[in-house]
Amino acid sequence: MKIVVGQGSCGLAAGAGKVYDEIEKILGEKHVDASLKIAGCIGTCHLEPMVDVFDDGGNKTTYVKVKPEQVAEIIDKHVVEGSPVEPLAISQVDKDILSKQDRIVLRNCGIIDPESIDEYIEIGGYDATTKVLTQMTPESLIEEIKISGLRGRGGAGFPTWFKWNAAYQSPGKEKYIVCNADEGDPGAFMDRSVLEGDPHSLIEGMIIGGFAMNAIEGIVYVRAEYPLAIVRLEKALGQAREKGFLGKNILGSGFDFDIRIKAGAGAFVCGEETALIASLEGERGMPRLKPPFPAQKGYWQKPTNINNVETFANVAWIINHGGQAYADKGTEESKGTKVFALTGKINKGGLVEIPMGLTLRDVIQDIGGGIKNNKQFKAVQMGGPSGGCIPADLQDTVIEYASITKTGAIMGSGGMVVMDETTCMVDMARYFLDFTRKESCGKCNYCRIGTKRMLEILERITKGEGKDGDIELLEELARKISEGSMCGLGQTAPNPILTTLRYFRNEFEDHIYKKKCTAKSCTALLTFMIHEDKCTGCTICARKCPTKAITGELKKPHVINQELCIQCGKCEESCKFDAISRD
């Protein structure tokens, strides 16, 4: 018997640590002979904490939302007596959802122990490294990646083989390969999951990429906000060195290569290649003009190639199965699979890996199980602060680079934040502008000052102080910021506003001209009302009201004095009888 507890960050936050401790304790107390292991996250975050029990025949039963107090029952009935506890196990519906996915990047996440190189090797890990280093040349390797059609998964979608080839062709002996693990898009966590759940697949991808351009060193630039990822990656690097996959003369091939970790210090702009390089050199992470491109002059002015975690995690699979097998998945224009972080107002949030070519509807309605609390699906945000909001009536859009770009959003790194009818689109635009304004490095005037001015306008609109001409001003600023900024951050910063204006212009107009928030979310534009028929006169709201705007006698319906009301919503929140509504 083998017991595996999923221990990604989200599993741990859901209580996986306590479940693990409880299993360990009970196994010890009852002297049960079973091995207890950990795994990364399988991606079904809504089912965490998850525990897999494998019987001696290798049959797996997955228990979901396990609580420490259920552990004894699982061990007694399943591990000791051999009969699975069906009511606690994963439902058929959730099993089917998992089977709809096609896992390449996440192939090992939630399956193997991320802290054990032996488990990784057992399932074919480092075979690709061996094959590349002993049988392939940089040219044949780059050709294989070209056949696969793999494109950068960090956001821009640049063909991977092209970047590798450029760095390979670039003259010089000292070359670097960098992994951008500074997953900065709010609402995206696929890189974290790979780092925590399958660090060796990243290491393999980097060794192979390093070989393609004859790099001397690999650097993983990882966010400081991912402490567990750093710990697991550090451990994995040590194991790879011990086994001789990193270091001098790897596998007798004559190729010397090692990888080190550099912890980022928190700056979204460092997702931009030249800014990331500046940060690696210990400077402020400010982008510079290109050319020269990093492939010519990067880290310490040496040829440097930068890829994202997800891109690297694909590489070993492509080598093992052939570029064609990868290209057979997906569409003509976008090959292979893509991981998405499905979050927001969705029933079954988590990580999903699907072949390119499915529609947004497939992902949101089928895999994601639709919208929470039976609300109406309104829009999905893709691409983070550089992306945009795709409205519900475009949910049949095919997931591939060009189709997504056509909507005004971008594929991005894979964040999909789902919104329902209660999400105000003006507020969403304000949210993203607030983000880019804070993260602008300040080098270009339009980005530095323009985003601030746009934010001020949007704040005014959400507070009910919007005026005629604001929308036109936003559009003008958006165009100028996009044209007047040097790097991707500024160039794409207006996208969230442009897409919301394109699809939800009426909401902006309602805010400005009718002083109404369609989604009933911007509190300054709301009127709170007490319904006489529902109010029991319990006086709680009157006591909670900070401005004493609510009056009434005990056990008689209360009223709100609208002149005193500051729309804080405390009354609505405190009411136990659902007697207060917003309009």
Binding site: P186, G187, F189, A224, A267, F268, A341, G415, Y431
Partner: protein, 181 residues
């Protein structure tokens, strides 16, 4: 540094004696500087380690790093103020990092912030008078499917409501006061 070697009275390394300014045990930083100061491009790493030691990056420490590495203080200050991870002020015993990611925003992070601010009687970025809590908004903790989320002392708390957030803080406060007793 003129204050070097002055014994601090409260037993911590960051006390503030009137008229003297804080006193720091610079020796703690020396192993870090010895290891990194000769490697170009290590400034961020040095600053991260220094912040781990002292809890924040006071002027004195930046001066000391400058003296030891030869990097100008202005440049160090520039780097420190560029990255969100670095702090110029000391923080409370418990650092609350409240996620402001898109998923958390959509699921009501602003209400959680309101509840925490009320509970602690501070605003975002401030530290409570008793020095127990500091509240910081952070970009994204990457636990989006548990949104809204906060992280306190490395532990993640998900699916927050106004009430659960208040409860978590009360529990930590209780635990802290029990430890003091």
């Amino acid at each position: 540094m003129e204050n070097k070697g002055v014994k601090n009275m409260c037993g911590t390394n960051c006390h503030c004696q009137e008229g003297q300014g804080p006193v720091f045990d610079y020796a703690k930083l020396d192993p870090v500087l010895d290891k990194y100061k000769k490697t170009p491009g290590s400034l961020i790493t040095i600053l991260q380690k220094a912040q781990d030691i002292y809890g924040y990056l006071p002027k004195e420490i930046m001066n000391y790093i400058s003296k030891e590495t030869g990097i100008k203080v202005a440049k160090i200050y520039g780097v420190v103020t560029f990255y969100t991870q670095f702090r110029l002020e000391p923080i409370g015993e418990n650092l609350i990092m409240l996620c402001q990611g898109t998923a958390c925003h959509v699921n009501g992070a602003s209400f959680i912030e309101e509840a925490i601010c009320e509970e602690l009687e501070i605003e975002e970025g401030q530290t409570t008078a008793d020095g127990l809590f500091t509240l910081n908004n952070v970009a994204c903790l990457g636990c989006c499917s548990l949104s809204p989320v906060m992280m306190i002392n490395g532990e993640t708390y998900g699916n927050l409501t106004k009430d659960s957030a208040r409860k978590i803080i009360k529990q930590i406060r209780l635990k802290n006061s029990a430890e003091v007793k």
